[in-house]
Each structure stands twice: as structure tokens, then as C-alpha cells.
Symmetry: C2
Subunit: 350 residues, 2 copies
């Protein structure tokens, strides 16, 4: 049987080939992506299995990557729940009727993942048909707290004032929203699995916007519910807690649970040294694979600097955990020079 | 001799009275501040010793606080260095001619602190005359890296692309800028000390925007130079590394120094538990006082919640370090209900 290096590493078995992929590897830094995107709205691109699978596969045509991650957005399920999603030029995502009250919550619903979000599964199927047997197909969703942040603010935010206001002044509405998102997310991820995803990843980009006590009380329980559903279905699973290591201390039993968060891989933000992330996670009983964590802005540097930083991450990754998947510590930025990725991959293949 | 509880605690001596102040305690959440601000531009307010001392003292008229922090902005010295500073409504600070090249750096200069930034000293003198002998006068500056971030971007930033581009592609220009800011900052802080500041604080709000290796290489050395100048002059000194605990690991000998960063107090962001900050700092040889770290958004909560969170911070602070100064973990926000501060202070006085 042919094995996939990324899945092997995710499950804790080091492989001769050091697996690599890049968060947001299908994106605006690639001219071929911009060409597709020029003719179509962002949400239309997400909804078209043909176009979504095309942009998903684009980076694998250019680079010797170990995985494709389906092109989509963490807010796609919000459309299924009943909010309208738009992307204003230069302003990021907007969601209609931000959730600020019991009434706002009441009009949202748990979508039928297969029927209402099935285009993502179709795109996964179409992409997977183009992969080699050693390449991994990644599906993903946003973590309930991070998705809730957008659904409450109605847009990106700096201070998360409305999120925290709701959490403090209407905790039952907040909890109800997180439960709805968790249910939707589980359905959505299982649908992606059925469609062919080899591994699933949960992006908790805004985890770092809660103090540790609030993260434990208001974000971790719903993330745990999603992780447990994946574990119950034996699906390899990656969790990305954005912005700093503080929340990693909580993933063991910070929420009073008797077992650590059941995940196979923790994806590490570039703000934290891999060695420290590994040490923190071990200290809370989590023997996981680490993924990450080059600062994507380092790809602006010269070839020698990019190679040097890559070697440093490889060395740290090899020592920090049971296995390591090379990645950036945050999504690639639109100004990333495409050739810089070839230097990274070349160092990994040496 | 009358002692100041905040200074006693800063130097490691616990006091019967638990000292408290709030970052950005003079600000838009107070109607009396908005009344002064209505008639004057932000930079004019900073430059007027009469108005700056008036808004500085306003929160001490309302609340039983242990300290006044001079009303100013971390970008005020940039005007002395030769950039124009403006505040667009809703857009935050703008600095003219962002530093992107050797030529941009060459036209900047080290100002005469007394002559060109003396209005801050005058405001400190005028405020200090209004304080009781037990109240502490705080002066401050931005840390060189954080100030450099604005000087390079020309405004606030999300990704710090230009900062990192300069750091990577023109490291000598970047280093030259940090040296200039460090020199200016030392002059500026010593001037504030002569004017009557009892303690000085260095805000490194954007420390968390560098990976640990970059923080060690590009930010910590200039912060260390400022801290050493304060220590050489026996001035009590507070350092605030914004966004997470990761950089605290580096403050011991992360930069290869034989001695830890010489500071008396570390001010802790709300993202990190005080107990963990204390443990990390002790592990790198720093036996310091901690300041912080209530999430300012928690002040949106009910009286019982604010009191509960305050008690939790008091308890953690009492156990985490040699002494504790109560504060928020980030500046107060404009929508803070003014009465919430009275609940915090009441809990501290119980």
C-alpha cells in the first residue's frame, strides 16, 4: 500500500520525506490564481467545484508539495446557517445581520451539509482525483469560537468588542451560537471526509483574542466537541490555535477534562518557538505532531535567508515533537514572491 | 518619609495597600476628557503642558488611584526626530515620509529632549504638583521596535510588511533607525525623570509581531540599551511586551547576554496568565514585580462579574511574583463604562 508522508507524520511516524504544505498555498500570490479570480466573485469561486478544485491544484503543479488544501473560506458554513457572506474589496468578509441577540440567533439554523454545502465536497472529490497516491487531501473548517467572532461582529475585528459584550452580557445566546456552529462544523467536516479528505484541520485564528480563563470557559468546550467527533470517526485531525502559546497550556485539562484535546497535530503560529510549543504540549500530556511555523513574511527575504530560516525550522521541528510537518505559521500573503517557496522545498529535499 | 505604594511594590516590597492604576486611564471613556479634547487636536493636547496635565489628573479626581501617567503618545518623539504626526479620525496615527531607505533615515535626527520635547517634562512637573506624596508620577516612551514599526509603516499595521521587508532587505537601515530611536528614547526618558517622573515605563506593544529569533536579533538589543541606561541612573523601570508570553522567555539571556534585562516590573498582557508570566520570568532568572492584567473588555460586564474577575487577578498577582501592581492588560477602551473602575478599586481596598 502506498503511504502518504503527511498522514504518516500526522499519526506520529517519521518519514524519510519531510512533508510540507503552506497555509493559503492557493491564493493571490500566484498569477494563475489571480487569472481565475479575475472573472469571478470570491463566494462564487468557493461554490464552484470546478473552479475551486482548479485553484486548489494550482500550487501542486508548480511545487513538490505533500498536500492540497481545498480552496474555500472558514465562513462558507455561515451561508448555510443563514447569513449572507460578501467580500468587499480591501475590507475583508462581511456577514449580514450580525448575531447580537436571542432573536438574531433564532433565525439561524443547522444546514444539511450534504445538500447545502455539498459543493465543497464535490470540489474535494474533483481535486482528489488529480492527486498522486502519496499526496494528501486536506479539508478544513473554522473553530466555533473563531467563526462565532465573525458572525457576531459581522466582519473582521480588532478589539472583538461585540464578541466579548455578548459573551459577558448574554452568555446563553453566546453558548447557543457556539453549539449551533459546533453541530454545523461536525456535519460539515464529516461530509468533507466522506468526499475524500484524508485529514481535517480546524482553524482557531482568533483563539488568542480571549484570556486563558475565557478561552477555557467559552471556546475550548466547542472545539473539544468537534475534536471528539473526529476522533470517534478515526479521522486524522489538526488544530491551529492562532496567536501565541498561552492557550496551549489549556489543551490538556485546562477545562477540567480528564483527557487532553484529542488531536493528532497542533499547527503552531510563528510567534511561538516550535521547541517551546512541544515542551508545553508535552507538559500537559499531549504527545502530538507539530506543524509549522515559518513567519510567512520571511519569504520576502533573500534566497540565503529563506534557506537559513527553513533549515532552522527543520532542525527545531525534528527535535520538538514525535514528527513534524513543515508549514508557515500563518497563511501566505499576497506579496509572497512565488520563487521563495521553491527554496524552502529544496532545503527540505536535501 | 512618606512612601509611595506603587514604587515600593515596583522595587519588590509588598505594601498593605495594593497599588492600582489603569493603562490609558486618561482617555475617551471619561466625559471630562472628551470635553477638553473637543476643542483641540490630539497633538496640540500632547504639546500643551496645561491641557496635558489637566487630562492626566482627571482620573485621579474620580478614582482612588496610586499613580498618574502623563498624557502623551508613544509617537510624540517622532516629531522631534523630524516626522510629522497627525491623527486622522478613525484611522489612528499617520507619520509623514515613512522610513524605507537610507535616504529616509538620513534626514532624521536625534532631538534635544529638553528643548524640543520639553513640553512633556513641563506637563509632568505640573501634574506632579497636584499629586499627594503617596501617589506616583509615571513617565513613558514606546520601545524602539514598536516606535520603529510606526515610523516605517507610516501608520498602524496589521501584517507589518514594510517593517519586515526593511529588516530583511536593508538590515543596516533598520539597525540605524533603532539606534536613533534608542538614543532619542534614553534622552527623552531621562528628561522626564528630571521633570519629576518617579518611575518610567517602556511600551513594546508590537513586540509580539516578531518571531522569537527576530525579537532577539532586532528588538531586544535596543530595549536592553534603554533599560540599562535607566538602571545606570537608578530609575525604577517597567517593561510592557505586548501580545503573549513567548518573548518573556527571551528576556533572560535569549540575546546571549550574561544578565537578564534590568527591569523592576514586567507589565503583563491579558493574554497571559499572571502565574505563568511569573513562572517563565523566574525560569530565566528574573525576580521582578508583575503588573496587570485584566482584559479591559471585561469592564463591559456586570458589577458581580467585574468584581469576580478582579478578585481572581488579585489572588493570582499575590502569588505570582514578589509584588503586584493591579492594572489592565491593555489600555482602557473608549466604550469602558466609567463606573466599572470603581468596582475594581473597591475590591482592591477590601
Amino acid at each position: 500500500m502506498t503511504t502518504k508522508p503527511m498522514i504518516e507524520c500526522a499519526m506520529g511516524r517519521k518519514t524519510a520525506r519531510h512533508p510540507v504544505w503552506f497555509m493559503r498555498q492557493a491564493g493571490r500570490y500566484l498569477p494563475e490564481y489571480r487569472a481565475v479570480r479575475a472573472g469571478v466573485e470570491f463566494t462564487e469561486l468557493c461554490k464552484s467545484p470546478k473552479l475551486a478544485s482548479e485553484v486548489t491544484i494550482q500550487p501542486l503543479r508548480r511545487y513538490d508539495l505533500d498536500a492540497a488544501i481545498i480552496f474555500s473560506d472558514i465562513l462558507v458554513p455561515c451561508m448555510g446557517m443563514g447569513q449572507e457572506l460578501t467580500f468587499d474589496k480591501g475590507h475583508g468578509p462581511r456577514l449580514s445581520r450580525p448575531v447580537r441577540s436571542k432573536e438574531d440567533l433564532a433565525i439561524l439554523r443547522r444546514p444539511d451539509a450534504e445538500r447545502e454545502l455539498g459543493y465543497v465536497g464535490e470540489a474535494i472529490g474533483a481535486t482528489k482525483a488529480m492527486l498522486t497516491p502519496t499526496q494528501t487531501m486536506i479539508g478544513f473548517a473554522g473553530a466555533p469560537f473563531t467563526v462565532a467572532s465573525y458572525m457576531i461582529e459581522g466582519a473582521g475585528s480588532k478589539e472583538f468588542t461585540e464578541v466579548k459584550r455578548l459573551l459577558l452580557t448574554a452568555p446563553q445566546v453566546f453558548r447557543g451560537l457556539l453549539d449551533l456552529i459546533a453541530d454545523t462544523t461536525i456535519d460539515y467536516l464529516l461530509m468533507q471526509r466522506r468526499a475524500g479528505a484524508d485529514i481535517l484541520m480546524l482553524f482557531d485564528t482568533w483563539a488568542g483574542q480571549l484570556s486563558c480563563p475565557d478561552y477555557v470557559a467559552h471556546a475550548l468546550p466547542s472545539t473539544r466537541r468537534v475534536a471528539e467527533a473526529m476522533r470517534a470517526n478515526s479521522i486524522p485531525f489538526i488544530y491551529y490555535p492562532g496567536q501565541g502559546s498561552d492557550r496551549m497550556y489549556e489543551l490538556g485539562s485546562g477545562d477540567g477534562s480528564s483527557t487532553p484535546l484529542p488531536v493528532d497535530v497542533i499547527s503552531v503560529d510563528w510567534r511561538t518557538r516550535l521547541a517551546r510549543a512541544g515542551a508545553i504540549l508535552k507538559s500537559v500530556g499531549m504527545n502530538v505532531t507539530l506543524q509549522g511555523n515559518l513567519d510567512p513574511q520571511m519569504l520576502l527575504g533573500s534566497e540565503s535567508l529563506v534557506r537559513e530560516r527553513t533549515r532552522a525550522i527543520i532542525e527545531e521541528g525534528n527535535n520538538a515533537a514525535r514528527a513534524h510537518i513543515f508549514n508557515v505559521g500563518h497563511g501566505l500573503l499576497p506579496h509572497t514572491p512565488p520563487e521563495s517557496l521553491t527554496w524552502v522545498i529544496d532545503e527540505l529535499r536535501k
